[in-house]
Symmetry: D3
Subunit: 304 residues, 6 copies
């Protein structure tokens, strides 16, 4: 496994500075954010470390040289919109950009593009399924044609009221993953596995590693702390941020020793990227760097 | 405390037979269902052991004599519609009937009417609040005027898809109860406390007994079993029956010893009515009677 | 479900007295022991409440009348030898007697014959398998031909040194049951399910109820207490009685509420027979009767 | 084992009525309180069901006939003063009365006299030890000479401020019991074992059953509930009633199944007397009777 | 947060050497001990790294230059006597010295002075309260006047017999802290929070972080291991060192990940000073240095 | 304590390279494997970093100089055959080589030789005991005469079918250690303590540290993960690798903080050698080096 981080937490740094920081801190890789330039639509979105619009082979070469000089690899390209949003025009824009990210990944020789399935959050999983069957097979085919794998992050994208009740990403549970992979069995369609989203959903985050071993293309190392005292007030039907808090690895409920123990046993040897969404560390660029440094120290107990 | 049961599980028995069964089995009380005559709208609804339409003092006298002869008391009258349903005409019918139940309770000398707050299940708690403030103050005032207490059952009324996402009863959590009682502080407004709904919401069902001691007017003894293996597949965002099963007391996750231990300490000495919604015991009238008998044996370890 | 007991604990009572005791104590059924007359080969064996040697239709009629008068049914006939014992001559004797029990069951109209698979205890499961494939298909066929089901008790028959290391019954674990039923898929081949043997093997005794629901023909209600302090001395490689003690239901580690909760949900409605192997209750006939009475009181919280 | 109760909870009943109640409810025995007539010094003290002052063989015969007619035995005589109280004149009065109880026990043929060691509550265990060595050897010798066993209840007698810090009975822990029995090895010196006092002291209440098997002369069945929320406020250095509540068996933290499981295995077959100190059941004579009845129902799951 | 240590563990080093060690090991701060020169009254007391007797502005300047050169800050000044000791003359000496430490803190520009409330250990909390009300308001006023905050360490100062029963510091529990801050609401009066003292008192050491967030001025990182086997012998009424052992962070029962997770969320960003009281590391100066080094490595997983 | 590793995981490195790696990674010591040159008989066996055949004082001096230059010490010599194997000729070869290792240890000034007791795996512990009494007293005497201690690793040497049922090393449990040391009380006979083998045997791996403190000569830091889902299939009677997996420290079920906490308290200050038997890290020399590096980072939180 290679320890790295998701670049979204360093939006104020240029690609060069991101990579320089990674190298200085001994990180082996970085997942680079590829949002279109413009205003972020939500927290942690809208970061552009690789601008895939009009991306050329020359751009690819320049970036690869930068990475090679730093001794840091690109774990994946990341862009996490909602391609099943009810507004089909908006969805088309997202999908078009997703294809551009896939093309850039091919040019860069990056194996994995990380994203969300998306969801019409006002409707049930079943009600979203026809749309899934319409949008995703061609997208996966597109990725196959470009030799790129798509890693779907298993975040429900349900945190507070505006995403209620369904969240903006279907791929939240093992039952749904199984359905996805039965529908689209392509070897280029898999998961960007993040245990923190399973912890607060009360889903065993170790058990699926055995069943979905071959589908895990990328791993996000984020943690979450469920506060029983808050849960005792609002229960599991509340919006999730009412009873849990995203935290750095080691500051939440994930048992990382057990997680990496089994992850190694199922022969995963890809990237593990720290994803920082811990507000206690977001005061400044310096505290966000501290967050990455501390998370790295914590995780290196369990991974190379 | 007085051990009894909710009459809804015996829809095929007349009032006389329900009371006779209670007496024969040593139950001290019964919560009598007062749905309007007609077709049930959902499982466990639509049962009419007291027909409050056109209810007279003579009716009251006849029923009270029946109860007195059997040595069984009426723990409360029950009618559980959705008075905040989006269809206001439908809601008005419910509210009109609720008032009839309250009038009947007064005539019978029954202290408590048990029901739901209701909810527009497609909208958030906050979005339902204006409607709560419109409907409930006059209803509680009506009950006060008739010397009757209203016990709100704390069931989220969210089991499967058609009640998704919000369920049909606002009064699901301690946070919401607090809000309700801050809004309407009447001593005639309280809870029909059922621990089973808190168990699967992952809310401590003992802790609120201290805070809400004075608001507990009635208790339902039902249990629920959460299956972690099912939860591991679908997570807490699934509709609740995907990961839990309502069961008889003693066959679920409620620690009844601890529950009654604290319930006694906060000086509750009202009725405790077994509510059977366990499909493993619903094959026939005889199995439903068995369910009440077995539940009684189980609970008498912990209560008089 | 029908609550009863295994007659082996009352070897000093005649069939009439066993059935009389059952009736007096309100038990619905009894599993009747059918060992050949003669010396018991081990504790709890060698009891003959139905002597199947030379069993006639007249014998069957007499017994059935006795049962009918008492209002007690026969849950099954029981005979638990080691038909895979290395001494083939000895095994042939056992098998011959097993067939006699099956014939008697047919004559009595009893659905189930309970027994063990047997095992050469000095050899591994794999090494025993050829013998299983030789002995069991004809036996199950024989039972099919007589309209009788065979319920295999899941006891490893490994308690102390003389049964070390393998025990005298292959059917100890879910993995082996699966293998058995893949090998012999007959609907007349199933389990006499006893959770106590799974408890000390550290196997979840509830989980298999779902998978093997249709294979559960009979249930033994016995319990076992694992003592961690003893386990801390000798570990799981010791002979099992060094770290656990068979006990009455309610005095061991089985969570009977959960067990019966799921057993009901998978629609089991057959017999549940208390099996007493608790030395603290074996001082006299009276204490053994006390054991059945107390176990009955305990279990009736959870079953009809 | 024989199930009974401690008569202290029925101070308003005569001996005849106590015994009549025991018989009517199916209790096998009663521990009879033998306080000197006069004002009780604390809650649950001062009850006189047998007045040992001037006790004669005729008194003994009358009582024994009463018991025999009712079919109820005397499990022990109880008198629980503080014979190590700093006021030596007061202590002498206690000791004199203890001797009278022992004499009465001999006359009644009752095997066991239950009491406390006592303690100067302002001083440490070590500082009390010389006084223990002075008072207790002659007392035990006295009991030996009268063929009576002394069962020391393991209650720290520390509940609230006036008993702070040391409590009024040394015999609170296994370490102290060991010291007591090393000091006085008489077979007439043992324990009246009550698991509830160990629960809130965070002492395993099952483990000592093995070590002290032969010293257990009598058992009190009382329970206690520790409330973690209260403990979180005041910690273990607070006076104990700030964080725990004495309760009926089944309403506290004792695992009675495990307790009786091991108690039977170590071959205890003496009395088990329900001791009611649960304020939720003390409103009236009737509620106190209810407490005994309910406790009996609960415990009969686990004992004959 | 800034990681540092308490200088008391290095009594044999000069201030220069303490600070040099801190710098070399990457510690950001040190809590400097300010006992009066002379003989230590107990283990870990009597250390003088800053001699506040006759402390001058020149002394302050010299020390501040030393710190600045080393790049190490002073997290607080520490002096932990018993200002409520029954001997009022002795108490007056302590209070006089406390004022000198406060004056020195002002001169050094150090924000926090850490100490104990003290207690007459032979008397209850209530009985100590009048003395608290006499001594502490003027002391806090004195600190306010000098712009210094007082951080009270939450150690009960009850370890073995000579501090029995009450310990020498009132400020042991959340209930008492609440009472202290209701009595004296000054913003200069707060806590030097050490979770290890709460662990063995069985108090949740995370929950108070929310309620007392604004009162936490300083944090001690010490751990404690409760041994259940020892507790099973002596119970919670024993002197605490009979059942627990103070240990380095990571070698005890504190869940430091959870502790720092919440500490960050409540926006604490002050010093965290390792306090070594682990006898397994006290053989020599070198092993005490090792203790600080190892504790630092352990804690840096969870804090910057 | 000194952190090091067992050299068996680096069979492809020369002694010089092993020691160089240890020094470069900051390990204080190495346990050097001393198998006879030739083919390994099982995984992790057959490694020869010190060839004790014909070992001379010159060899010893050369090795000691190498170690001294690197600043790495030899924690012990290791050779782990089965000296109680049923084939006595084979056993004699093992014993002869064990003596050679002891001689080499003496020449090198190494205090400890680590090995197994051995066992005839087809027979019970009792049945092996006569052989133990024959072989081991002279071996321990031999070690005494050479001033060398023998540390017996507590591995049952039972992993899969070919070692079934008894395993190839008697010294698996505290009960057996006690028996060994009662039989041979020599101060040169002790344990090479590895907690991982106790974890899967469900034996408390901390409790024995108190009792056997003086017998612990060497410690292996290996971990093991028990998978309950696998155990639920096969139970504890299966061969152990069916339900557990050996892992690096931190990736298994051992609570290393608690382990080292107590290990320090009982005053162990000898070597702690990482033993790598984690197949997820055995792909190449580089991954095995990574395993040691990562294990070192993990363990240095808890030990110097």
């Amino acid at each position: 496994m290679q320890l790295g981080f998701v670049s979204a937490i360093l939006p104020d740094l240029s690609l060069e500075d991101v990579v320089g920081f990674a190298a200085a801190e001994g990180f082996a890789c970085v997942e680079l954010m590829c949002w279109p330039r413009g205003k972020a639509e939500r927290r942690y979105a809208g970061v552009t470390h690789v601008d895939v619009a009009g991306f050329t082979q020359a751009d690819a070469q320049r970036i690869n040289e930068l990475m090679a000089q730093a001794g840091v690899s690109i774990s994946g390209l990341g862009y996490y919109p909602n391609p099943l949003t009810p507004d089909r025009a908006e969805a088309a824009v997202y999908i078009e950009h997703m294809q551009q990210v896939i093309r850039a990944a091919q040019m860069l020789g990056v194996r994995t593009f990380n994203t969300f399935i998306g969801r019409d959050w006002t409707r049930s999983v079943d009600a979203n399924w026809p749309r899934f069957r319409e949008v995703w097979p061609p997208l996966v085919k597109f990725a196959e044609d470009h030799g790129v794998r798509i890693g779907i992050e298993n975040c429900p994208m349900l945190f507070s009221g505006d995403e209620w009740p369904g969240g903006k990403n279907l791929a939240a549970t093992p039952a749904i993953w199984r359905r996805m992979f039965e529908e689209i069995s392509s070897p280029n369609f898999g998961l960007n596995y993040d245990p923190s989203h399973l912890v607060w959903q009360r889903i065993d985050y170790v058990k699926p590693l055995w069943e979905f071993a071959g589908r895990i293309f990328h791993v996000h190392a984020k943690d979450a702390r469920v506060d029983q005292a808050r849960l005792d007030e609002v229960g599991i039907l509340a919006t999730p941020l009412q009873f849990h808090t995203p935290k750095l690895p080691g500051l939440g409920d994930v048992d990382w020793g057990r997680f990496f123990s089994v992850l190694g046993d199922v022969k995963y040897d890809g990237p593990v990227c720290i994803e920082v969404e811990d507000r206690a560390y977001e005061a400044s660029l310096e505290t966000r760097k501290v967050a990455l440094r501390q998370s790295g120290r914590y995780l290196r107990q369990f991974i190379p």
